[in-house]
Amino acid sequence: MSDPAHPARSSPPMARLATTVVALMVGLLATGPAAVLAATYPASDYSNVTAFDTCDGTPDTISRSLEALAQNGLSYLGYSSGEYATTGFTRARVLSRASSDQAIYVHSHGDQYYDPYPRQVQGFREDGGDCSQAIVYATDLAAVRPAAVHLVVMSTCHLAEAAKTAGEPTMAAAYGIDRVKYTDPHAPDDGSRFFLGYEGLAYTADMLHFEQRFWGYVTAGHLLGDAFTLARASAAMSTATVPDWFGTYDYSGAPGSSLPCTRCV
């Protein structure tokens, strides 16, 4: 560190400023945007492979496909997302990363589980690589979340529903997102929050069709609300599977508020 009384060198303020900024820019470039985003916009992409394969007895490839679609979408939006399945997708990992994640994708079993009976709390099951599969409750997440996240996708049954037990947090609320649809860009949640989930039972083949469309529109630069609407209108789905969303319709999904929406300008 240089002594302020005896600076080794000096230069005009303009040049000094320019040199500093250039050095910073070059540093950023050398590090790469991915590395900077990794530090700034972490995300998690969880898929419960074991539940839909080993545990229920039927083979499954849909879980991996959904995980890959989400990973591609989150990367496109500018998040640095870790992918976790089998032994990597544990309740402990979800809770430990919850405090820093800016976006989260979960494909798993979801329900309003008894905790204990008759109290029902929304939650999803970890993978863990075996079939014991502890539940990650909305109450657990609400306790460790310091602030709202930008984007939450719950690719499960039931987690877009209202709480069955009054006063318990929904999964959306656990991540700081109101179960409200804002179409005004000046929404009270600052306009950069979006939750996607399913009502009632959801079938995996339908979910794959819908999420292929949704992420397809997202990675084509559509706003998240538009991506939802266009996916809903174009996905080949049975009547049984019903996706829903909350948050700000006009949100691009990008973690930085200044990042552009390429289809809306």
């Binding site: 950023l28 339908d206 706003l223 266009l230 209108a233 080949a236």
Partner: protein
């Protein structure tokens, strides 16, 4: 006492240029994840005359529905899932915001029209569940399509903020659950979206295999997975349906996933060991060959 270095205008110019370059590079680097939309990558050339017809048809349709925005040029692309060629005309507001989208098959058949604007303030009649089917019939008529005479299934679709009125496609008396004419009707009675999905069909067999044969095939599959030992296992009666094959049973399946095939759908449910919830699985058995061509399960 130290001396200020004597920086010339050239030095400052170089510094400024370097700064501008660095800003530009960083800007490009950071915007890269949101760069060129994929749809543009997949865009194909639309013959000029065909493009003009597609645009004119889209504008005329938008006028009938009172859609906002100015039509762009048609973009031909391969559907991201089925690979079928489609022509998309986007309608944009003055600020560039996407307001509506009209999609036609390359042969001109209307596949869907979607209004992406906020609930419009234009005139409309308040519509409830009872009135939604009639409103949907009116909107289908406006599109130039014909609604089936049968009663549709009407549900409230919270995600679309609209009534979802669905006529499942029926082919020779057999439903195709993922195909059909679906209209989303806003509570005002105006259109939110309309979609007419008609996947291509494989040849139907002269005579489907017996339902009992399909049941036996699925029971064999269940035995192979050792699920037959579960006391909770129950089957429901097979039902004939036109289905899209997938890799649920065999990931290496080569059956075209975009072509509907006549199949028996056999549903079974059980409580896996250690679980408290019942798990439901559907297996599709090709009605021509008896092969297991796909399925799905509850999440």
């Amino acid at each position: 006492m130290h001396q200020r270095p004597n920086l010339s205008r050239l030095d400052l110019g170089i510094a400024a240029a370097g700064l501008a370059t660095a800003v530009a590079l960083v800007s490009v680097a950071f915007s890269a994840p949101l760069a060129a939309p994929r749809v543009a990558d997949a865009a194909l050339a639309v013959p000029v005359a065909q493009g003009a017809v597609a645009r004119e048809a889209a504008v005329e349709l938008a006028g009938r529905f009172g859609l906002a925005g100015t039509a762009g040029l048609p973009v031909r692309s391969a559907d991201q899932i089925t690979g079928a060629l489609i022509d998309t005309v986007d309608f944009r507001l003055a600020d560039g915001r996407l307001a509506a989208e009209v999609v036609r098959a390359a042969d001109g058949r209307l596949e869907r029209v979607v209004d992406l604007t906020d609930p419009p303030s234009g005139p409309g009649t308040a519509v409830g569940a009872a009135g939604a089917p009639e409103a949907a019939r009116r909107l289908v008529g406006t599109s130039g399509l014909a609604a089936p005479a049968s009663a549709p299934v009407t549900t409230w679709d919270a995600g679309m903020d609209a009534w979802c009125v669905r006529w499942v496609r029926i082919i020779d008396g057999v439903p195709a659950p993922t195909d059909g004419l679906v209209t989303w009707v806003r509570p005002s009675g105006r259109l939110k979206a309309l979609s007419d999905t008609r996947s291509p069909l494989a040849d139907a067999p002269p005579q489907p295999i017996p339902a009992a044969t399909a049941s036996l095939a699925v029971q064999g599959y269940v035995r192979g997975l050792h699920l037959d030992a579960l006391p909770s296992l129950v089957y429901t009666a097979p039902r004939l349906a036109w289905v899209l094959p997938n890799g649920f049973v065999d990931p290496a399946v080569t059956t075209d996933p975009s072509i509907l095939r006549l199949a028996w759908t056999v549903t079974f449910s059980y409580i896996p060991p250690g679980w408290t919830e019942r798990h439901t699985v559907e297996i599709d058995v090709d009605a021509a060959t008896g092969a297991l061509i796909g399925g799905t399960e509850t999440a």
